[in-house]
Symmetry: C2
Subunit: 406 residues, 2 copies
């Protein structure tokens, strides 16, 4: 064995931890546990029958290309399907604005690879998606957290922090935001806040990285324009998309949408990272979109999650002890729960696991270690019945924790 293995790994790898969420998920895979911990879509939304037909079609009619290496930029059929879909939604893009990636996690990896030297600052929300934090810190970037209010990242705090960092000669490389149904907070930026955030980014000449995995899963309220759209092709915003929550995660398809000059860096970085994304799953996805099945299925997913969220919120109102608060997201997969100040979600976790219910500690989404009294709950995966039962168990666990502190 290499005698100095722990010494010779890179400075950045020394900081790599196994993802808290994925390790927790392993603990919570016993069948008796009702888990609100993951971020899994409901398997009932997977269009298995249609995929049998489409896969057969792709293999029989385009198999030689589907099973071969593809271009780094993405399969032409999927690029076209995405361009058409975005333009039907009011954008005005071409395939040069896109690069297909192997999941939006790869987008998070590549944006850090492209922009971050060790020690570089990046702006993130407090809280923010753990997979983003993990990808950025794997290149030695240092996340700087900006507190949220009920409209998402606070513009006043953002501007003050940018002023401070710029004066100190430590301007961040980019700002990472999830404007719609934020993971983990479940909040959505209203138009006004989007405009403020974008204006501040432009004032400080800062790239905005808009992560948008849930945007199309809106249950209620009015759709807000993407930051990319508000930017009007001026090149200050790049947007990450993915099929994981609106089609299937098992294909591992994501993409970056942005100015061609920036997208070109993703193409170059992707070449040395995995050459190309599977043309097989790209061609299947393209055909699924072309045949109109994607949008039909999306309506079904939205209906299902809307109902599941309502069940969870109803159960909160029924069972949660006084002092517990939660966000009520207009879409997405997650909501955020606040225990009364001073209570520790980690203590709660151990009580809850004994009662066979699981969640994710909110603190793991806080780059500054705050958020001890918060927790993220997923409502998309478990059945409505388990949803109610899980909330009951969780409420009992919280009551038990509260009682123990009296």
């Amino acid at each position: 064995m290499i005698s100095d293995l722990k010494e010779i790994i890179s400075i950045n790898a020394k900081g790599m931890k196994r993802s808290a969420i994925r390790e927790l998920l392993k603990l919570t895979q016993k069948p008796e546990i009702i888990s609100f911990a993951g971020g899994l879509p409901a398997k009932e939304t997977f269009p298995i029958e249609e995929l049998v037909e489409i896969t057969k079609d792709v293999l029989e009619n385009d198999g030689a290309s589907a099973l071969q290496y593809g271009s780094t930029e993405g399969d032409p059929t999927l690029l076209k399907a995405l361009v058409d879909r975005y333009n039907n939604q009011g954008l005005n893009i071409t395939k040069d604005n896109l690069c297909i990636l192997t999941s939006s996690q790869q987008a998070l990896d590549l944006v850090a690879k492209i922009f971050c030297n060790p020690g570089d600052k990046v702006i993130v929300g407090l809280p923010s998606y753990l997979g983003g934090l993990g990808a950025f810190t794997a290149y030695g970037a240092e996340p700087v957290g900006i507190l949220h209010d009920e409209k998402g990242m606070r513009a006043d705090l953002l501007e003050a922090k940018l002023e401070e960092l710029t004066k100190a000669g430590d301007k961040p490389k980019f700002m990472y935001v999830i404007p719609d149904f934020q993971n983990p907070a479940g909040v959505t930026m209203p138009l006004e806040r989007r405009k403020e955030i974008l204006a501040i980014a432009k004032k400080y000449d800062l790239l905005v990285v808009e992560d948008s995995p849930y945007r199309e899963l809106r249950f209620e309220g009015e759709a807000q324009p993407m930051l990319f759209e508000l930017d009007n092709n001026e090149g200050n915003v790049i947007t990450f998309g993915t099929f994981s929550k609106i089609f299937v995660p098992g294909f591992r398809i994501g993409w970056v949408l942005g100015n061609p000059a920036i997208v070109d860096y993703f193409v170059k970085a992707k070449q040395s990272t995995d050459l190309c994304t599977s043309p097989f799953v790209q061609k299947i996805s393209a055909k699924y979109i072309e045949q109109g099945l994607f949008d039909k299925n999306l309506i079904k997913i939205i209906e299902m999650y809307k109902e599941k969220k309502a069940v969870m919120i109803d159960s909160f109102e029924k069972y949660m002890p006084e002092g517990v608060t939660w966000t009520n997201p207009e879409g997405g997969l997650f909501l955020f729960l606040n225990l009364p100040e001073g209570l520790d979600a980690e203590e709660l976790f151990h009580i809850a696991i004994k009662k066979n219910v699981a969640f994710v500690l909110g603190s793991v989404f806080h780059c500054d270690g705050s958020g001890k009294n918060t927790m993220r709950l997923n409502f998309s995966y478990v059945s409505k019945e388990d949803n109610v039962e899980g909330v009951k168990r969780l409420a009992q666990s919280i009551q038990e924790l509260m009682d123990s502190k009296k």
Copy 2:
């Protein structure tokens, strides 16, 4: 637009170039060009009919898992299939020795991410696989090239270089070797050289990264043990495998085989890179192996490439001008051609393209810029007829270049 885009990208991204091969491939995609440039497997080897059946089976019987997120380590069905297959070949491994990756290019990316700080040295062959060089330099690593002879990397030069670097306090992070049918040189290390290389690695406490995409494509001669096998589970060797050349590239499946302590770093690094490899294509591949179809198809591939290589070598002997030499590989997809000293393969490229035949400049595989008179030719992709016709055109181009220098 961000005004200082070129300035704010990372030091490493500044060095990223579009892959010379992939860009060349674009130039050579006109249908009239016979291209020896790519590294594509022959599409006739893709088992389309079988995959239609297996995909249907996976979707109908295991669709909910196949389309969901999977574990970072890999799908249990594919891990088991690979463990069984390796152990049937005489290894003694468990699933803890493996992590499934999204192509072996991802393995090259992650090994650099895990081990390399900017400025770290890594040992490579002269010549060596361009995708390896690109992945390592994307993390600021500096490849140090060791000349080949007809048995692969020269042990005497390796030892001298390691002695020199270690004395200078600049010990390399790892040594990158492709022992079987090396890309691009087409040479295979005999047992004796393998033992020497491994002994030197152990003497200098150096990790050996064994890239093994072609190993199973042996046409003739005797199979040599993998360096991983010779290492006897002592933890000095990690091996990268892939389905790209022995099944289909379009699934983008590779893996790392190594000591569990090292594999664990790959799992952690992969979590922030793309979370997991598509369970869909993993499950299809596992079933394809389980049903015995993989090994049956492999025999067919070997027969086909053996014949294609023989056709190319025959044509060389018939048509190549005096002074041109080539390697005659015992397997794999590539061979290497040497022009008489002083001739420039880049000059030849422009003549050849006009005659509608393409290849890759050997110099791109040399980290020190040498190898100007060399070129890599792929024999797996084009038909036997085009193989002959392409070699004729190439021989004419070389003759033309030679005549112009008289």
